[in-house]
């Protein structure tokens, strides 16, 4: 398969398995290893079903077979990622980190996808971050006087695995850090709500920005344009409440329907971070195709 880069997926939970399904569709990626810890786990069984090469040896699989892949999606945990990176940083592998480890360059494809090409470890922040940061970036570029930004994401309980639940503090603190970085606004707050309703709710994110009333037509046009850019890699991304000015703040609401690759459509939260990761990995692949860069030459 010339032109495709070889990728390994480390971690066979919800994120890892959904990434696997997405790589099968990609014109630029070929999944050569799907790596977990237990060949009988739900994710591994799915991997077997689609005929990908499985391993239950964790990072050792890559250490022992360094030629098996050029890029690794790390869908394990922040703590495991620190260990994985200690083994990978002196290799030529590119790592797309799905965990809240905070060691890689933060990438939001609609904003800074090109930055990925200059780093070998890139971090996908969080689902709420991927949903909100592009719009916040647009807002702060288009308007002056933004004093405070607040992001509230509601996700279906059924889409929040054990990792998300235990790491709820990390989710908040990392998303806030990314929000500050991309918006250049220091005063930010992130809130996460788990909703157990059955049938499950779609992921929804609300952005509120305390500011003087901006030119709403200009802002709405800029936001609509950004929505289109995001839809190019997250098909289920939809602005359900375009910018409104209410109670001294601008409010925008987004709903994310997942593609239903592994988890059902309501899990837009898992879908959006995975779509962002796939877009990033494909960028490396395209960069390689056009000889814009040599994978081996990028420094960490």
């Amino acid at each position: 398969m010339t032109g495709r880069i070889k990728v390994a997926i480390l971690g066979s939970g919800n994120i890892g398995t959904d990434l696997l399904m997405k790589t099968l569709r990609s014109k630029f990626l070929e999944c050569t290893r799907f790596i977990g810890r237990n060949l009988n786990s739900k994710g591994m069984v799915k991997g077997k079903e689609v005929g990908v090469l499985l391993s239950d040896k964790g990072i050792d699989e890559i250490v022992e077979n360094p030629g098996c892949c050029q890029l690794i999606f790390d869908a394990t945990s922040a703590r495991d990622h620190l260990y994985h990176w200690s083994l990978l940083k002196d290799t030529d592998k590119i790592v797309v980190d799905m965990t809240p480890s905070k060691i890689g360059k933060m990438i939001v494809p609609a904003i800074n996808l090109n930055d990925a090409l200059e780093h070998r470890n890139v971090n996908m922040i969080s689902c709420g971050g991927q949903a909100s940061i592009p719009l916040v970036h647009t807002l702060t570029q288009a308007c002056d006087g933004v004093e405070y930004i607040e992001i509230v994401s509601s996700i279906a309980s059924a889409s929040a695995g054990a990792g998300t639940r235990v790491n709820i503090d990390e989710y908040i603190e990392n998303t806030e850090e990314a929000l500050r970085f991309f918006s250049k606004c220091n005063n930010v707050k992130v809130i996460l709500i788990l909703n157990p309703a059955v049938p499950s709710i779609d992921m929804q994110t609300t952005i509120s920005a305390k500011m003087p009333k901006p030119d709403m037509r200009k802002l709405s046009a800029a936001i609509a344009k950004m929505e289109k850019s995001i839809q190019a890699y997250v098909p289920g991304y939809l602005i359900v409440v375009p910018p409104v000015y209410e109670n001294n703040r601008v409010v925008i609401m987004v709903r994310v329907r997942g593609l239903g690759d592994y988890l059902p459509g309501y899990a837009g939260n898992l879908d959006i971070i995975n779509c962002a990761a796939i877009a990033t990995a494909e960028k490396y692949a395209q960069g390689k195709q056009s000889n814009r860069f040599n994978l081996a030459e990028i420094k960490s």
């Binding site: 405070y148 607040e150 509230v152 509601s154 309980s157 054990a162 639940r165 235990v166 709820i168 503090d169 908040i172 603190e173 707050k189 809130i191 996460l192 709500i193 788990l194 909703n195 157990p196 309703a197 709710i201 929804q204 609300t206 509120s208 305390k210 359900v240 409440v241 409104v244 209410e246 109670n247 703040r249 409010v251 609401m253």
Partner: protein, 339 residues
């Protein structure tokens, strides 16, 4: 004679009723008087707890730390408590500082099906030698079996007790009996109840909870709390004493505390208003009332329609942003019908 632990949440849940604008001149004398009355625990802070001051649920006049400091300097024997909902507040940003500021007790709270989000926070408080209760919110939404499962998790994390919150004021007394007795029969730790007064049943429900085996009651003087308010603490104490339960609270002094709150804190008396009945019937968190009234007014829709639609969508506490979306949808629908 059975001991009942009373938790006074006037300066926490009551903060909802004044849009989180409680100030030092209210907190300080209130705490001094609560201490004098022998109230065992006073819980203070933003209505949604540590780290919750936000556009989403309302901005607080004072910071969490300012509130805690004002209360701390006026409490000695009375324990000082705070409330935290993981997803709003975090250990690093909020809980850690509150513990450094000298609090004695933490209520770690989650929606009634999400107890596993409280594990790390309960562990953290417990490891620092403080008392910790696990609170479940909106407990009308699920069965007693589901509540037992979630409370067992909190018990396994190290909670010193669990408190069922009727956040929407949706319980009638038979619901209380069913759920509280199921928990009392299944747990090793004390069980508590926190009622809201949407149907005018908060006091009755609290007494019924005790009769079903609850040993913790979380109440507010004058019923000062979100929406229609809570179980009126001084009345609950009076009834408990008449029924032979011990609370350690001095009756005259708790009545004085309520009078003090009436003069210094409670601007509009709590009462069962029409909109609160709708909120209880729809099973939507009582704290939504102020937001629903404001947003419904702005978009020219009936706040009752907004509440029933929120109930249909099973909005949980913290999803106040959904109010705007629902109001816009209702306004659009009406405009289409008029055409």
């Amino acid at each position: 004679m059975k001991n009942i632990s009373i938790i006074d949440s006037t300066l926490r849940d009551g903060n909802h009723a004044v849009r989180h604008q409680l100030d030092k001149n209210q907190i300080e004398p209130y705490c001094a008087a609560a201490e004098a009355a022998g109230v065992p625990v006073v819980v203070v802070g933003h209505g949604n707890g540590l780290g919750a001051s936000s556009l989403q649920v309302g901005e607080s006049l004072l910071t969490d730390i300012e509130i805690i400091a004002a209360a701390r300097s006026n409490l000695k024997k009375t324990k000082l408590g705070v409330f935290i909902i993981p997803g709003f507040g975090t250990i690093n940003k909020d809980l850690n500082k509150a513990i450094q500021e000298g609090i004695d007790l933490v209520c770690v709270s989650s929606h009634c099906t999400e107890a596993d989000t409280t594990q790390r926070h309960i562990n953290y408080v417990k490891e620092r030698g403080k008392l910790v209760y696990g609170n479940l919110m909106m407990t009308h939404m699920v069965s007693k079996g589901a509540l037992i499962d979630e409370c067992l998790k909190m018990q396994s994390y190290g909670a010193d007790g669990v408190i069922l919150m009727d956040s929407a004021g949706a319980y009638i007394p038979s619901d209380v009996t069913e759920k509280i007795s199921a928990l009392v029969g299944s747990l090793k730790i004390p069980v508590g109840f926190h009622g809201h007064n949407n149907f005018g049943l908060a006091i009755a429900n609290s007494i019924v909870a005790v009769e079903a085996g609850a040993t913790i009651l979380d109440c507010c003087v004058l019923g000062f709390g979100a929406g229609a308010g809570n179980a009126q603490l001084e009345a609950v104490v009076a009834i408990l004493s008449k029924r032979g339960y011990l609370t350690g609270i001095d009756l005259y002094k708790i009545l004085d505390l309520a009078d003090l709150a009436g003069k210094k804190i409670v601007k509009t008396p709590q009462g069962v208003k029409s909109i609160s009945i709708v909120s209880g019937l729809a099973g939507v968190f009582s704290g939504f009332v102020r937001h629903v009234e404001r947003v419904a007014g702005q978009y020219g829709v009936d706040p009752r329609d907004v509440f029933f639609e929120l109930g249909r969508r099973k909005a949980v506490g913290g999803q106040e942003d959904m109010i705007i979306e629902v109001a816009i949808n209702l306004a659009d629908k009406r405009r289409k019908n008029e055409k």
